[in-house]
């Protein structure tokens, strides 16, 4: 009798089978992980854009015309966009909408595809003030088209300020101790640099401050801190701060003005005499997109006057195509300052790539950490 034998071989067989099974399981897992990037069917576009930039109001028209499906992911900040693109998921998206602060570094990192502007008939209609900027150009090629833009204006509670404040300096007024909110973003140091006059004669100098200038900005911001109730991080948060009467003054976006007006909150918006910073959001096609042709058509569609008008309706931001103004009511034109667009744009120093972003950030962290 050999009772042990068959048992051993059975065991061996089982081991063998289980190894095969395991290999198979690993294979399946790899397949499942890999297919994440293969789910993009031809004829579909994946967007990674700001909230509101893929609203059904205007995207559906494109989907119907081209029989495709548009899937949008939203980003919470420029940082998140860059982190996702650099983190290796660049191939998951076809179209992105970086703001002008990170647009240049995305181009320099080779994450965006060069565009042949002759394939975008609407490109010629765009505001030359925007297309002439060097933000998304490198080696004589264009890597993005302007989509929407806007300022970072001073917002104020009109029950406290019957007249719009004239200067950003009002934020420092001891009368408004604990009644001010600023954006938890480098835009706040830019604003302090403007108050200190570092934007003269060259406005872009605020994006290239020296160490001494940064030190002065830091000092100025530290003086502001007793007045700051809360640094806001999302649009909804600032809207809330005004609504709950936590603050009466803030640096904000036109989006919050639109939101608060809808809620019948007495909000005012102004660009003080020192001017302000602002942003231009560009549409870009990622270098690794597999649907470049369809993406091109989508970008063209998005900068046509009719879609631009709808995008403006949704977001409250200004359209890059001035032709959109012709489709608006006189009131809407006035609200967006499109009736006097050249003068208005001149008051905005659009965000640029900040070569010493890490240094700026370190200073901003020091300001935030101080008690």
């Amino acid at each position: 009798m050999q009772p042990q034998r068959p048992q051993r071989s059975e065991e061996l067989l089982f081991a063998l089978r289980s190894w095969r099974f395991l290999l198979f399981a690993v294979f399946l897992t790899v397949l499942a992980l890999g297919s994440g990037s293969c789910t993009k069917k031809e004829g579909n576009l994946n967007l990674l854009v700001w909230e509101g930039y893929a609203d059904p109001l205007f995207v559906r028209g494109f989907e119907e015309k081209h029989h495709c499906k548009i899937t949008a992911s939203y980003m919470g900040s420029s940082d998140e966009l860059v982190a996702k693109l650099r983190g290796g998921s660049a191939s998951n998206y076809d179209v992105i909408s970086p703001s002008s602060d990170v647009a240049t570094s995305i181009v320099n990192a080779g994450l965006a595809a060069p565009l042949d502007v002759s394939r975008f008939p609407a490109y010629a209609q765009l505001s030359p003030q925007l297309t002439s900027l060097p933000l998304v150009k490198a080696n004589g090629k264009v890597y993005g088209v302007p989509f929407l833009w806007g300022p970072n204006p001073l917002l104020y509670d009109t029950t406290v300020f019957p007249e719009p404040p004239q200067s950003w300096a009002v934020l420092w007024d001891p009368k408004y101790k604990g009644k001010v909110s600023v954006w938890d973003d480098l835009s706040t140091p830019y604003m302090a640099a403007q108050i200190l006059g570092f934007d003269r004669p060259d406005p872009a100098a605020i994006y290239n401050l020296t160490d001494e200038q940064l030190e002065a900005v830091k000092k100025k911001l530290l003086e502001l801190k007793p007045n700051v109730r809360k640094m806001w991080t999302t649009g909804g948060e600032l809207t809330n701060l005004f609504q709950n009467h936590e603050v009466v003054l803030a640096m904000g976006w036109p989006l919050m003005t639109t939101q608060l007006r809808k809620l019948n909150f007495p909000i005012g918006e102004t660009i003080p005499q020192e001017n302000t910073t602002g942003w231009i959001d560009h549409l870009m096609i990622t270098a690794r997109s597999e649907n470049k042709e369809l993406a091109e058509k989508f970008v063209e569609y998005m900068i046509e006057a009719s879609s631009q008008k709808l995008a403006t309706d949704v977001t409250g931001y200004a359209p890059a195509n001035p032709g959109a103004a012709n489709l608006m009511t006189a009131e809407q034109r006035k609200l967006l300052h499109l009736d006097d667009i050249d003068a208005y744009q001149k008051r905005i120093i659009f965000w640029e790539n900040v070569p010493r972003r890490a240094k700026y950030n370190e200073m901003w962290n020091e300001v935030k950490a101080a008690q």
């Binding site: 570094s105 109730r229 936590e246 070569p355 950030n361 370190e362």
Partner: protein, 282 residues
Amino acid sequence: MYSRAYKTIITLPPLVWVTLFLLVPYALLFAYSFWSVTPDQVVVHNWNLGNYAELLRTPVYLQVLFRSMRIALSVTILSLALGFPLAYYLSFHCHKHKSLIYQLVIIPLWVSYLVLAYAWKTILGSTGVLNTLLMYFHIVKEPVSFLLYSQFAVILTLVHIYTPFTFLPIYAALEQIPRHLIEASQDLGATPRQTFRKVIWPLSLPGVIAGATFAFVLSFGDFFSPLLIGGPGGIMISNVVYSVFGAAYNWPLGAAISFCMLVLVVALLQCAEHGERRWSFS
């Protein structure tokens, strides 16, 4: 007994999991902390200690690190001060509605963290529940502003969130204490205070240590409370890490800070484990 194949199948998945999702990421984090980033924000693999030097040179990082530890310590002490009496009461003196009270205590664990933070916002705000009440009863004339957007609010919220975390292990430890030990202590003429000091407290120490570790480690790395309800000067170390990774695109420096945090936390966990083993009953 168990065949080798069985053992392989049982051990392989956790091994793969730990390697893929813990060891490899930690190794990457460690490697990143020795690299550097060019002004064009490209990470270069030139091994150096620059990030750690920067960490020591720039006061802001250590300052925020110590502040986070201080906040975490306050949260730990307060959570213990709330969690221990609660667990003690429930374990020794509550008989009737024991399970009901138990459920009530751990309910905050089931509620999303963000909801809890937002709830405190509506309570502590200038037009919030508390200020409205205070003004209604003419206790104050102006809304009390230090309640919200301050370190006070951060600590309060964290204590609220992490008290169940300290409560649970302490309660488990107290429940495990054999009741005849307490009876023996009483039989031998110990006063209630002596029984507590010489029997209950030492036997509950493993639970206390586990609870304190939970509260400290979780609140040390907290990100949302300072962001949502912290004051303009109340950022914690996770907020700094976030901005260094994000706004500054300096992954190597962010990795260096994260690695220091990791070392601190692991060291603390080791001490806690050592303490738990030393004082554990049996």
